[in-house]
């Protein structure tokens, strides 16, 4: 038996396979496919203080080995979450991690305070990297001072595990990571989607209502992997790596590049059972290579 457990700050994960925010709903949608309690943790759909309708249709366009989305953080707001969704999912046998979004520092703080009251949410992921909202979102994640400001403000009111999710749409990802580490983050997750665009040559129109959207899927994997490796080398806090993970081999590559745990995103749309297959695949790999603890793999790249 191999040991798949890993630790992010004070969070003990039974295995390093988590699901990415916005691609796994609130977990319950997958209950027909597998027991979500088997996951390392579940990053639920991005939350905001108030109800958000998100962007107009169309919001999606398939690309070469990937997809663009322009959902724009559609959700019914924190009140609705606490009343209607939280009670249904809080007993999952794994960590529920809230993805926190705001358009001002104050909104981030207020939302964090609300989530802080929820006993079964041991960590938040501060999303300063959503490319699909006009205000806030990625704007916070592409400049160090604003990333620091929001991280510090949230740190002030939050004692549980604080994960900051970085945008890959920056010149120097290691610099961003260092900045939010300095501002008090317990962990860093990356990458969010890349800002991209698609055009219908026949109609000459953009394929997304918002013209640009966020690129995810295997197409971004090489860039995401590079960024995870750069961040791993730069900071001393654990990293959640993601971006195009489609199978166990991809996940192992992210572990080797320095992720303490991984998040599986877009792949869940194509094979909803993929997170479980990845857990199994990592186990097989470890047995085959005589690796006893998955933690040995983290940052294990031989360079």
């Amino acid at each position: 038996m191999v040991d798949l457990s890993t630790k992010i700050h004070e969070l003990e994960l039974k295995n390093p396979v988590c699901t990415a925010s916005g691609t796994f709903g609130y977990g319950e949608e997958f209950a027909d496919f597998f027991d979500p309690g088997l996951l390392g943790s579940i990053f639920i759909k991005g939350l905001t203080l108030k109800n958000r309708a998100g962007n107009p249709y169309p919001r999606m366009s398939e690309t070469a080995s990937g997809m663009l989305n322009a959902v724009g953080l559609q959700n019914k707001g924190i009140d609705h979450f606490i009343e209607n969704i939280y009670p249904r999912i809080k007993e999952f046998d794994t960590h529920i991690i809230a993805n926190v979004n705001g358009s001002t520092v104050e909104e981030y703080v207020e939302l964090t305070e609300r989530i802080n009251e929820l006993d079964h949410i041991p960590a938040i992921e501060l999303n300063i990297s959503c490319p699909n909202v006009k205000e806030g979102g990625m704007a916070f994640g592409v400049s160090c001072p604003s990333a620091v400001a929001v991280t510090e403000a949230v740190r002030e009111v939050y004692d549980k595990t604080l994960i900051v999710k970085l945008s890959p749409n920056v010149t120097d990802i290691a610099e961003m990571a260092l900045a939010v580490e300095g501002a008090g983050a317990d962990s860093i997750s990356l990458v969010n989607t890349f800002l991209g665009m698609a055009i219908d040559a026949e109609t000459r129109k953009p394929l997304l209502s918002t013209i640009t959207g966020g690129l995810s899927g295997p197409s971004i994997k090489p860039i995401a992997l590079r960024m995870v490796w750069q961040v791993y080398k730069a900071v001393n806090i654990p990293v959640f790596g993601m971006g195009g993970i489609m199978n166990a081999t991809d996940a192992i590559e992210f572990l080797l590049a320095g992720s303490s745990a991984v998040q599986v995103g877009t792949a869940c749309f194509i094979d909803p059972q993929i997170p479980i297959k990845i857990i199994q695949g990592i186990e097989d790999y470890m047995e085959r290579h005589g690796v006893k603890e998955v933690r040995e793999l983290v940052g294990g790249l031989i360079d």
């Binding site: 691609t23 496919f33 998100g54 249709y57 999606m60 366009s61 989305n69 749309f269």
Partner: protein, 255 residues
């Protein structure tokens, strides 16, 4: 319950130059299938097809554990799917979505254009079982596009329009004389097909205060309610076409 199944191609039959029926066997999900439901089919071996593709059921058979789909080959995925051979495996997630309402002993009109007729064979059968009187109106460009009429005749009277007049009345579906006739006294209208057609049917229904259900075909990334890409604006805000649809009462839609 939603299932992920590897099914076997029992048959793939091209009906004309641009559409085919794909029949798959080995499904344990048939008992959960309702008229209007759909499935997300994975299309393998195509370098440019990344996501699954959604298709309404054409039909299913509980005893034979088969499900079938009527597919119009309009792009890369639907063309690729049409090259499957008997015995090959297809991965599908199903059944998905909501379903049409089934009244009892009413008079109903089914309107379908293009691949939009797919969900109506199952619907017709169930409507008939519940004692409804059924009229089926299908439209297409030419007679080649008018399909499944023999099947539909089992459930009710069949009308059709073609743009070139090669079968039935000449013109668009909503130009059919049925709409101007005196006997336009339906309790419920169903519609599925191109957006323009559905909107035209919906406006007629609204005008006459007839209940109307439309089955939408929004772009989908997941098909089971997690990506929030397929949304449709409704009177109650954005709804997911894949879980709260694909069938909507037109009064809900901001058409």
């Amino acid at each position: 319950m939603k299932r992920i199944e590897d099914l076997t191609v029992k048959n793939l039959r091209w009906l004309n130059t641009n559409s085919y029926v794909l029949e798959l066997s080995g499904s344990e999900a048939t008992r959960d299938i309702r008229p209007g439901n759909f499935a997300e089919i994975r299309i393998d071996n195509h370098p440019d097809v990344f996501l699954r593709r959604p298709f309404s059921y054409l039909d299913y058979n509980k005893d034979e554990k088969t499900v079938s789909f009527f597919v119009k080959a309009i792009g890369k995925g639907t063309h690729k799917l049409g090259t499957l051979k008997k015995g090959e495996t297809v991965n599908i997630i199903h059944p998905l979505g909501n379903s049409f309402s089934i009244p009892e002993n009413k008079k109903v009109l089914i309107t379908g254009g293009g691949s939009g007729i797919a969900p109506f064979i199952m619907l017709g059968r169930e409507l008939k079982e519940k004692g409804n009187e059924i009229h089926i109106l299908t439209g297409g460009r030419t007679s080649e596009d008018i399909l499944f009429t023999d099947e539909f005749r089992k459930y009710g009277e069949v009308f059709c329009t073609t743009e070139d007049g090669s079968l039935g009345e000449k013109g668009l579906l909503t130009q059919h004389s049925i709409f101007s006739g005196k006997a336009f006294d339906y309790d419920l209208i169903y519609t599925c097909g191109p957006d323009g057609m559905m909107k035209a049917v919906a406006s007629i229904a609204k005008e006459r205060s007839i209940d109307c259900e439309a089955s939408l075909e929004n772009l989908m990334a997941c098909g089971f309610g997690v990506c929030l890409c397929c949304i449709q604006e409704t009177t109650e805000g954005n709804k997911c076409v894949c879980t709260e649809g694909p069938v909507f009462n037109i009064n809900e839609l901001k058409w």
